[in-house]
């Protein structure tokens, strides 16, 4: 087997495996290097997303949501359920099966497309050579005409709360508790902290979230963020803002968390503590000093708008480069890199990257928030429709939340759509497609939406931009 490839991809997460499959589809001889090895010594594909990120968290969110419904909502439908209980081991087993199916799925896709899988830790040398160290420690050097770096990111650790097995965990550990913690602390009210906090809160934990910033979800449209905070508080999450953790002390099986808020020094006792303060790019040991690839000032691999690094023919995609750390962004960048290598002129539209938080209600957005438009001095109109006005939402007993559409006041072009509510993650794609085609709010108003659906709320919000929604009273234009 020759050691030369047209493309070598380092990393088999969403950025890497998608790039590898696309390269192979385009007729390029492709190999994908992945270092993740299971305890049994087998290679594990899929990266963070499939194994300890997107997929397992969604599986647990789904299970815990069903439990919540069984405990609190089924009786509204006339369904009697006696004392529902949660079998954590079974829930975890289901999650593990799903993960195994998907990672196995990637292995099949690699085979089907002719991607060679190389097990080991990849390192980029000079001259586009990739040195792979296998599980035994032996190294092999491969030659490539092109390289795609997709090594992803890892959870950030903070000194006041060092990862301590069985007590202080990161997101990976939070997906593996073997019982429901009585009291759970979460550091960081970001996407990861809120989702994982939600899972265990629904299963019965008393959850306290400690967030250092004084605004909740500062990157989300603030009207939506305020509604979210209200909903989470109603669900029993105790969210403390402007609170900074100063230290942790484990004594007699409990964690004493010391933190400082606007009132002074505080203490919190919890059984388990999740650290969800952010993620940083994985570049340790990846780049030989003469590889030619450089990092930017924040430690990400430096790339241009086509994900090309400083070396022609070497690309980097996903969490290891600038931009929102989202699997779908990594995937589309992987496709772009593969197609560029094949000579196509593919681009990623960074203006239309949707963001989603999979709590309940879900939060999803694409484009600019009101705050961003105000800061840029853009004149805009707003259209809002609450799910409480929607028949389908009522039928599903899920009337929390709203859809908000922001459009340019002169041209009516849709500039941003923000949703909080059931199925926001699905509904947002309608907005992404519309914005990709330069849709105006009026266009959405002139489009027929099926009835009765949650999507109609999007339709009504678009009509509300122009002041003529049908199913809600239209507010006077506000600025």
């Amino acid at each position: 087997m020759s050691n030369k490839y047209d493309v070598i991809v380092i990393g088999a997460g969403p950025g890497g495996y998608v790039a590898a499959i696309r390269c192979a589809q385009l007729g390029l001889k492709t190999a994908c290097v992945e270092k993740w090895t299971s305890d049994a010594g087998k290679q594990v594909l899929g990266g963070t997303c499939l194994n300890v990120g997107c997929i397992p968290s969604k599986a647990l969110l789904e299970s815990s949501h069903k439990f919540e419904e069984a405990k609190h909502e089924l009786d509204q439908h006339g369904i009697q359920v006696e004392n529902p209980a949660i079998d954590v081991a079974k829930m975890m087993e289901r999650k593990d099966t799903i993960v195994k199916n998907l990672t196995g799925g990637i292995a099949s896709l690699f085979k089907a497309n002719g991607v060679t899988s190389i097990q080991g830790t990849g390192r980029l040398l000079a001259g586009k050579q990739v040195e792979v160290t296998d599980t035994k420690g032996d190294t092999t050097v491969y030659e490539a005409d092109n390289v795609i770096l997709a090594t992803g990111s890892k959870p950030v650790e903070i000194p006041p709360a060092p990862i301590t097995e069985g007590y202080i965990v990161d997101s990976t550990g939070a997906l593996e508790f073997d019982e429901v913690p009585k009291r759970l602390g979460v550091i960081g009210a970001g996407v990861i902290g809120l989702e994982l906090g939600s899972v265990w809160a629904r299963l019965g934990s008393e959850v306290t979230v400690i967030e250092a910033q004084d605004t909740f979800l500062s990157l989300v449209d603030q009207q939506i963020a305020k509604e979210a905070l209200k909903q989470f508080k109603k669900q029993g999450l105790d969210i403390k803002l402007k609170a900074m953790v100063t230290g942790t002390d484990i004594k007699r099986g409990l964690i004493n968390v010391s933190y400082k808020d606007s009132k002074g020094a505080q203490e919190l006792k919890v059984d388990k503590l999740i650290v969800g303060v952010g993620r940083s790019p994985v570049t340790d040991g990846l780049l030989a000093p003469d590889s030619g690839v450089n990092l930017d000032e924040r430690g990400f691999i430096f790339v241009d708008e086509h994900c090309q690094t400083d070396v022609p023919g070497i690309y980097a995609v996903g969490d290891v480069v600038r931009g929102p750390m989202l699997a779908h962004k990594g995937m589309e960048e992987g496709v772009m890199a593969a197609e560029r290598i094949a000579g196509q002129k593919t681009q990623v539209n960074y203006e239309c990257v949707p963001g989603v938080i999979y709590t309940h209600p879900e939060i999803a957005w694409v484009g600019q928030s009101e705050e961003q438009l105000k800061a840029d001095g853009v004149d805009y109109n707003v259209g809002i429709c609450p799910f409480a006005a929607n028949g389908r939402a009522m039928a599903a007993n899920n009337t929390a939340g709203m859809v908000k559409v922001l459009a340019d006041s002169k041209t009516d072009r849709v500039l941003g759509v923000h949703i909080i509510g059931q199925n926001a993650s699905e509904l947002i794609t309608q907005a992404v497609i519309a914005m990709e085609f330069g849709s105006s709010a009026e266009d959405l108003g002139l489009t027929m939406f099926a009835h009765p659906t949650l999507s109609e709320t999007f339709h009504e919000a678009a009509l509300a931009v122009g002041g003529h929604a049908i199913h809600i009273a239209n507010k006077k234009k506000r600025k």
């Binding site: 000032e297 041209t411 009516d412 072009r413 085609f437 330069g438 002139l446 489009t447």
Partner: protein, 413 residues
């Protein structure tokens, strides 16, 4: 790969031009050698053609904007595919179709319109072919129609004499009437007129000539490479550029050659005991020169920060008269536009001006060997009534030496 669309090099004695007509819009496909934009100067209309097959990516200078010779006016992407030119075809087609055009009949077969765009087109009696489409793959969006209607309104208001404007016929958004040997008369803006007057004054009332030298930029580039991150971090995000070092070198050289720092007032020579160095900034309306007061006492970070602020103020048109008067020396950088060598014109009543140019790698003879070095030509234009050739040359040599060995600026040697 994106390349720049530049205004062509203007003929001698032409200071600047105006963008007359963009024949191609962003997203539009162009063939090699196809006409993209017309630039109008005092003497002649210059044509800019596409360097290759591709797509106009971005328009940076709009119709009516003033541009300098070689200035970047847009971006071009070679090899890309874009929308075909249906929507911006010029008048001859639309005028022949005017009589028989049934808007919806003609349109729906050719151009894809969003629902709202279609509605607006019909309500306003437009021919969709006349509207510039910027949607994906040439689709017409509501935004396109709204913009078209607005520009139609402003064309109708500003050019009532246009022969071709008739009630039912849609008028494309061009500013110059089409036809044979067309002319466009635009009065000079006051700024333009004032710049013109001062330039004429400088060349007529001074004995101006220029001395050249070249400087090896490698030491400075190494210095910058080594320290730029630390600089940026220490100085709150202010970036380390070359301008600040040139200003510092100039300030030091001015101290050693006071004649270069002096000005003429009637029959007197005024020697200034301070260095107020003006930095020329190019704006859409013309060249303005805000002054760095006591430049010799400013730190590099302060100089960089102030220049950046001036640039922003100039762009916003917010520079005050005080900020632009009273300098003792001026530095002008034509290199950012690609100028390799030039003879800058004095900024009266100053007696000298330093011209910086493009840094270009050239083979140089160093110790009998050929070495590739990043070189910059320097030009010092000076008033020979005040400054002798020897002083001017040595002043310029001093700047060269200081730049080639930046430690000398610090050590004042």
């Amino acid at each position: 790969m994106s390349t720049e669309i530049k205004a062509p090099t203007f003929p001698e004695s032409v200071a600047d031009g105006t963008v007359a007509t963009w024949h191609k819009q962003p997203g539009e496909q162009v063939a090699r050698d196809e006409l993209i934009v017309d630039i109008e100067t005092d003497k002649v209309v210059l044509e800019v053609v596409a360097p290759d097959d591709g797509v106009v990516e971005e328009i940076i200078k709009n119709e009516g904007d003033v541009v300098l010779s070689g200035e970047v006016i847009g971006k071009f992407k070679a090899g890309a595919t874009g929308s075909s030119a249906k929507a911006t075809e010029s008048k001859p087609e639309s005028s022949s179709e005017k009589a028989t055009a049934d808007e919806s009949g003609v349109a729906s077969s050719d151009i894809i319109m969003s629902p709202a765009a279609k509605k607006l087109v019909e309500e306003n009696g437009l021919n969709p072919k006349d509207v510039n489409a910027t949607g994906k793959d040439g689709r017409l969006t509501k935004e396109d129609v709204v913009n078209h209607l607005e520009s139609k309104k402003s064309v109708a208001q500003s050019a009532p004499a246009e022969k071709t404007a008739q009630a039912s016929e849609p008028v494309p958004a061009a500013n110059i009437p089409q036809g044979e040997r067309a002319e466009k008369r635009v009065p000079m803006t006051r700024l333009r007129a004032s710049i013109a007057r001062r330039l004429l004054d400088a060349s007529q009332s001074t004995a101006m000539l220029t001395t050249f030298n070249e400087v090896n930029m490698k030491p400075l580039m190494e210095l910058r490479k080594q320290y730029k991150d630390l600089f940026e971090k220490t100085h709150n995000g202010t970036k380390l550029g070359f301008m600040s070092l040139f200003v510092k070198a100039a300030a030091e050289a001015l101290k050693r050659f006071p004649a270069v720092n002096a000005s003429i007032d009637g029959d007197d020579i005024v020697y200034h005991g301070y260095q107020d160095i003006g930095v020329a900034v190019s704006t859409e309306k013309g060249l303005v020169v805000p002054i760095l007061r006591d430049a010799d006492m400013m730190s590099l970070a302060t100089i960089e920060g102030t220049i950046k602020q001036f640039g922003q103020k100039a762009k916003d048109g917010k520079l005050t008269i005080e900020e632009m008067t009273g300098g003792t020396f001026t530095i002008s950088n034509g290199g950012v536009f690609g100028s390799l060598m030039s003879t800058p014109i004095l900024n009266p009543p100053q007696t000298a001006i330093l011209g910086m140019h493009k840094i270009q790698e050239r083979p140089m003879a160093v110790n009998g060997e050929v070495v590739i070095l990043p070189m910059m030509y320097l030009a010092l234009s000076y008033d020979h009534r005040m400054i002798d050739g020897k002083e001017a040359v040595q002043f310029l040599v001093t700047i060269k030496e200081l730049i080639e060995d930046p430690a000398r600026i610090l050590l004042e040697i």
